[in-house]
């Protein structure tokens, strides 16, 4: 593996992290990278259809966030959701099988790339209508405050989602009601193919935070431990003070908006400049420079992960299609799986 730009100093958050946690973060980021590359290959071979939005370049955010979360906290993400699912510990086989539209997929093949959900892992979507998950995430936080369950909801959105109505209304209600939610804008600088300066009337998305009664925090992502620290502070504010935060993370996606996008709108040299500061490469450098890993060790790890993703593709390939009857499943429930707590006066009634 090439290690670019060796001269730039490593950020303190990264160089001061321990050996084991650095290796863990690197492994998990690399798993996302290789998963996405595998998905792209499968797409070009016709194994995957529909829309496929890759997370390549943004991995440090999902991994750093996961490191800052507690059991029970929730991720609510956009259609660019594979990275979050893997970061939350969702099974790579099930994720790949979902992309293939197979029975063993994360949601049984009904959702596809844009609708990853895994409740037990804290992966609460997977939303494909831009911005319409923001009020829903606010509602999860409303429930947490109502039930006093101590859970924090993390709602991710892209820079392309900050202009649309539901984002505005969801953030307004979160600020008005002091809900335990963290909104994280992954500002990858393009709303599909339109650069930020042609979609945003202000320079910084966090300029809006005070208008919603939200705390604001804005930074350029360098590494997962920096993300853990900054998102962790927002999570803590949500959990202990029930105060919502708007975090803007400047990042970059190395691929087009989706598989059908060749990304010809990028400026000259832009992609190369960002690649040179790829957070994944930085973590690899930390492993070598700070923790004494050899390149052969990193290559062995990479081989291991590539094998895992090859196996996931085989698993997805071999997984059966959903049963035809499955198209009628999960439309309406016959009865409430969680009836109210027993009330002796009315327990005999049943709708």
């Amino acid at each position: 593996m090439d290690l670019p730009d060796k001269d730039a100093p490593l950020p303190d958050t990264l160089s001061s992290a321990g050996k084991d946690e650095t290796l863990h973060a690197y492994r998990e980021m690399l798993r996302i990278r290789r998963f996405e590359e595998s998905a792209a290959r499968a797409y070009t071979r016709g194994k995957i259809s529909g829309f496929l939005h890759l997370y390549i370049g943004q991995e440090a955010i999902a991994i750093g966030t996961n490191l800052a979360m507690r059991e029970g906290d929730r991720i609510v993400a956009t259609y660019r959701d594979h990275g979050f699912a893997l970061a939350q510990g969702c099974d790579a086989n099930a994720c790949m099988a979902e992309l293939y539209g197979k029975r063993d997929g994360l949601v049984g093949g009904v959702g596809g790339s844009m609708h990853f959900f895994d409740r037990d892992k804290g992966m609460w979507g997977g939303y494909a209508i831009v911005g319409n998950h923001v009020p829903v995430a606010t509602g999860h936080a409303f429930a947490s405050k109502y039930l006093e369950d101590g859970k924090v909801t993390l709602c991710f959105l892209g820079d392309g989602a900050v202009g649309i109505g539901p984002t505005h209304e969801g953030m307004t209600l979160a600020g008005l009601w002091d809900l335990p939610v963290v909104f994280v804008v992954e500002n990858n600088r393009y709303s599909m193919g339109t650069p930020l300066e042609r979609t945003l009337p202000v320079d910084e998305i966090t300029a809006r935070a005070p208008g919603y009664g939200l705390e604001g925090d804005r930074f350029q992502v360098t590494d997962p431990f920096q993300v853990r620290e900054r998102i962790g502070a927002a999570i803590e504010r949500a959990r202990s003070e029930s105060q919502p935060t708007l975090v803007e993370i400047l990042t970059y996606r190395f691929r087009g908006h989706s598989m059908s996008d060749p990304a010809k709108y990028r400026g000259k040299g832009e992609l190369e400049a960002f690649r040179a500061t790829d957070p994944l490469e930085r973590v690899a450098r930390a492993l070598v420079e700070v923790h004494g890993f050899g390149e052969d060790e990193l290559e062995a790890l990479d081989e291991e992960i590539i094998e895992e993703m090859d196996a996931a593709m085989d698993f997805a390939d071999e997984s059966p299609e959903p049963d035809l009857d499955h198209r009628f499943a999960n439309i309406l429930l016959d009865e409430d799986p969680e009836p109210p707590a027993a009330n002796p006066e009315s327990s005999q009634e049943n709708a």
Binding site: F142, L147, E169, N330, L332
Partner: protein, 326 residues
């Protein structure tokens, strides 16, 4: 048996369900301190507090989405739209989140909640405030859709809707909140999906719901004067639809009129015509007639609006026509 207004029956249903289940809360514009734009939540803030009777800013897509998110996380929201006309700006939340979440998560999540409020034309409110959303919401798999016309039905069906594990669209009417009717003291539930014969008859089946129920009952009086016996079936549930009750009546009368607030193009009326012609074709003695809105945006002017809304005389005339009395 006490008589209540529909608004009181609605309030009592909400109150009883809030007492029964701590997860139930009501949210919307003016539901708390103002006591409800139409007083359907009168007294609830005092009894249950601001945690469970939640005033919102004017943010329909925001609080509809908050309700969905809260339902997914274990609560049982009742979302009040001041009118369903305003649900138009929350339509994406209902269509893409409430109706889809159970399906698109492979059954991992569900949205047990009620969206309720007045629907259809009231009086001289102009085109944007006079629309019936029956056909729009009944079109969508993943939702249940209910329309009530009496205090008894309002209470029994709203309690069922609140307990239903699915998202339920619950239509009321601005012009009917003050209508009175008997409501038992003892608790009762009306299952969603069952039509109700509001008046038995032999000659023509009139299938109706919502505001057109009292209009159809008036039409039945007019028809009785010229010896025509109308059977008035209140559909009550638009999705699921009680097809058996409709077909049974049509096979008895051999004639059907569908009377409702709503535009004629597509919609619940057209769905009913399809079911009747498919399932009772050999029993029909006349084409099925529809009496509904004119195919126009509504005007403010009283005479224009009146002409666009089904009146008792219109339903009477349609019944005469399918009975070949003219």
């Amino acid at each position: 048996m006490p008589t209540l207004q529909i608004r009181e029956a609605i309030r009592d249903a909400i109150r009883e369900e809030m007492l029964r289940d701590e997860r139930v809360f009501v949210m919307g514009e003016e539901v708390g301190h103002y006591q409800g734009a139409y007083k359907c939540t009168q007294g609830l803030l005092d009894e249950f507090g601001a945690k469970r009777v939640v005033d919102t800013p004017i943010t329909e897509t925001g609080f509809a989405g908050v309700g969905i998110g809260a339902a997914m996380a274990g609560l049982r929201p009742i979302i009040e739209f001041m009118t369903f006309n305003f649900s138009a700006v929350a339509f994406d939340q209902i269509l893409n989140n409430a109706a889809k979440i159970h399906h698109m998560t492979g059954g991992q999540f569900y949205a047990p909640m009620v969206f309720r409020g007045p629907n259809a034309a009231a009086h001289m409110l102009g085109s944007t405030h006079s629309q019936a959303f029956d056909g729009i919401y009944a079109h969508i798999p993943g939702l249940k859709v209910v329309a009530v016309a009496t205090p008894y039905d309002a209470k029994g069906l709203l309690k069922s809707a609140i307990r239903d594990p699915n998202p339920v669209i619950f239509f009321e009417s601005e012009l009917m909140y003050a209508r009175r009717g008997e409501v038992p003291d003892d608790e009762y539930l009306i299952p969603i999906g069952e039509a109700d014969i509001k008046r038995a008859g032999d000659d023509v089946t009139v299938i109706t719901w919502g505001q057109s129920v009292p209009t159809s009952l008036e039409a039945a009086e007019l028809a009785a004067e010229d010896g025509l016996s109308l059977e008035i079936i209140d559909l009550r549930s638009l999705r699921p639809m009680d097809t058996d009750a409709i077909i049974k009546s049509v096979k008895k009368t051999n004639r059907a009129v569908i009377a409702y607030h709503g535009w004629p193009y597509g919609g619940v009326g057209a769905e009913l015509v399809d079911r009747i012609q498919r399932l009772a074709f050999d029993w029909l003695d006349a084409p099925v007639a529809r009496v509904c809105y004119e195919d126009v945006p509504f005007a403010y002017a009283e005479n224009l609006e009146h002409a666009s809304i089904p009146q008792p005389e219109d339903i009477h005339a349609a019944a005469r026509k399918v009975a070949y009395r003219d």
